[in-house]
Symmetry: D2
């Protein structure tokens, strides 16, 4: 299934008074990594919204473990891959390495949503076929 790797330098402003990454920033990086994964598959959330009438791919579940702290000046490698495809949802796994050592891992599930115009509320909707195809593909370099 589709996978992507990103390098994230840990910047001064990413860190807290303990000198380590302020934890919520990992979730910003997980989000950026999902967008980069879409780009790797030739997709963008913006394109999905305009082409398929969906209004977002919100996270419905995160399970994250933080094994070792990362510090200002470290360089993190995020390995992000699709791990499951469901009717309206998909699973993503992230593994974060710091100088070759696992620093964190995270699995997340996102759902594809669209406004139901009859009911005027947001509902899950089936994954666009283009997204399923892109996520099934094996990445090539």
């Amino acid at each position: 299934m589709l996978a992507n790797t990103r390098i994230v330098p840990v910047e001064f402003g990413d860190c807290d008074p303990s000198g380590i990454v302020y934890n919520p920033n990992y979730f910003v990086w997980f989000d950026l990594s999902v967008h980069a994964l879409l780009a790797r598959g030739g997709l963008s959330l913006k394109g999905l919204i305009s082409e398929f009438g969906i209004d977002g791919i919100p996270v419905v579940e995160y399970k994250a473990r933080f094994v070792a702290p990362a510090r200002w000046g470290d360089e993190l490698t995020f390995e992000t891959s699709v791990t499951g495809l469901h009717r309206s949802a998909f699973d993503i796994a992230h593994r974060v390495f710091n100088a070759g050592v696992l620093a964190a891992d995270c699995s997340e599930t996102r759902v594809c949503t669209a406004v139901d115009t009859r009911e005027g509320r947001v509902r899950a909707r089936p994954l666009p076929e283009r997204l399923v195809e892109a996520f099934r593909a094996t990445p090539k370099d």
Copy 2:
């Protein structure tokens, strides 16, 4: 065990182009809720650091579910409580309500760390007794 409730107004800048809370902000709010829980117990991370020589209480695990989106202008209620005490770690649960309806829940585990001066590296250390006592107490209004 110690518990606390906080109101969080969802501000314009907390939301993304979909008009809902940008997900990583929940983890900022979970962190603020842990600090508010400490304050409810008469503690602060700053005090723990200066009195007990610990250098932080980093998160080692998050399990979070997002059940319903929250929008700019909504008011969220965070119910935060201690749910487990271990030798060097503690568990916290958050339940987030939006207009009385569950919007998200999260359990997290944090570990108490200190620099081992002989080895020059960060290690888990037993929870300070003052923190254990405060976390065991029943909150009173």
Copy 3:
């Protein structure tokens, strides 16, 4: 003219490895202070958007001075007031006090924008009269 005062506790996650507020957070607080000022005048950006067809009040200019650092655990007082009203723009001044001492001040100009449907682009538009009235009022406690 309309004025408002807000208390902002400096949280752990607001600070950088130097232990002082990570500077961009002041601009989040200035933004929150503008929204609080609107609320003080009985307005909200959300209401302005839905009632008057504007699409935002983006900042066009900031002039900010940072006189003294603020640290984790400090409590800042933001005094925010309207200082100028123009055809499509308004000026706001912020003074930030830390334990009674000036820590920062900032003047900002925002413009009221709306999409010109004929041209399909965003343009400045005259301030809604309701906003002008609210901004001219003297605040009462």
Copy 4:
């Protein structure tokens, strides 16, 4: 004097419900651009701290103008350069281009600070000579 150029893609999470960059994020980008400028000159704040005993280079003044909004999916170019060197302070200018058109500009002044151990308080201190030399150099590609 030293100059550097950086490309910043505008991500989903950088934008607010209006669909444009949430303004405080520009100040994060200005900060990242200053760190990148240091790196271009062979320096880092971390190195300055450990070698010269300074404890930071906090901003004392920002003057920023926002000329045109940037949207999710845009790619911004930050041109950052040293524009002034003083005894304990330096001036930086940023020009931000969006598809070749000026979107924002900003001038900032930062001061080099260190803890005065006799007085136990933070004070301005002369710029390290290494920093002055690096900032005076003409960048080469």
